[in-house]
Symmetry: C2
Subunit: 161 residues, 2 copies
């Protein structure tokens, strides 16, 4: 598996990964009826650097990296990761997260923050914990899950020193 910067040609493959995640509405706080155009504008926005993970030439995941805040908060970055459902459980998110931490260090970020990890997304919470992230905040009932109702979301944080 290689991780490389996303290019315009990757857009259909990125959308193919994002669409089921967005439509399910279980893990990302994005409108479930979000259009492809809005999703691409979000994921590949000018405030972000976007990468893809590819295996045998096929895009199997994507992530973005951006400053989480401006001004006095710009030394902390934020990332979002999505993996193709058909390739779940094979370490793609882990590989992308490790890559993102390396890129973040290269770009001078001192820490990484996830603003909104849905508590029912136990796979993500477990993976980020295993990769050194700590739960530094709990947002009570901040996410309306399509089947579980109002559930908490976590703020997770990791120093990159």
């Amino acid at each position: 598996m290689i991780v490389r910067p996303a290019s315009a040609e990757d857009r259909p493959a990125i959308w193919a990964i994002m669409e089921p995640v967005i439509r399910a509405g279980e893990t990302y706080a994005l409108d479930r009826d979000m259009t492809e155009g809005d999703a691409m504008a979000y994921w590949l926005g000018s405030d972000k650097e976007t990468f893809v993970a590819a295996e045998d030439g096929q895009v199997v995941g994507s992530y973005y990296l951006r400053p989480n805040q401006r001004g006095g908060g710009r030394h902390v970055c934020n990332c979002g990761y999505m993996t193709a459902a058909a390739h779940a459980g094979r370490g793609i998110a882990r590989t992308m997260c490790a890559h993102s931490m390396e890129m973040a260090r290269l770009w001078g970020f001192r820490a990484m923050q996830f603003n909104f990890v849905v508590a029912t997304n136990v796979r993500a919470v477990g993976l980020w914990s295993a990769l050194g992230f700590e739960i530094v905040g709990r947002l009570p009932h901040a996410f309306e899950h399509p089947s579980a109702g109002f559930v908490d979301a976590f703020v997770m944080f990791r120093d990159l020193a």
Copy 2:
């Protein structure tokens, strides 16, 4: 004091309040060299509803209200408040916050979240606490204060039920 929706004519007065806050860089994670145009695009952005507090026809404070997340997170709102330095300590922020909670309830928001309250901003932390907000997260060294160095920032949260 009245609180009313901001209009285009309020822009110079809003900028006069914002500029010293932004230039000081002590309380908001915004670039200290932010231009007036960028600041207005941020504070009066299409994702926000913006209000001003006025006394004897003079704008003495401003706040915005917006959904903090989209999709499953859109029932939680976020606000930012700024008060004219010359009018600090006279309850303007308190009045604006009370107004924002009423507006948020009217618009159907179920909770309000502040994402980044700088820990050294003890006046704000004290006021939000007095108004029922709880510290639900602590972001370690997430803010570089111009004189205090790297300090924590709080995530504060309040149910609106």
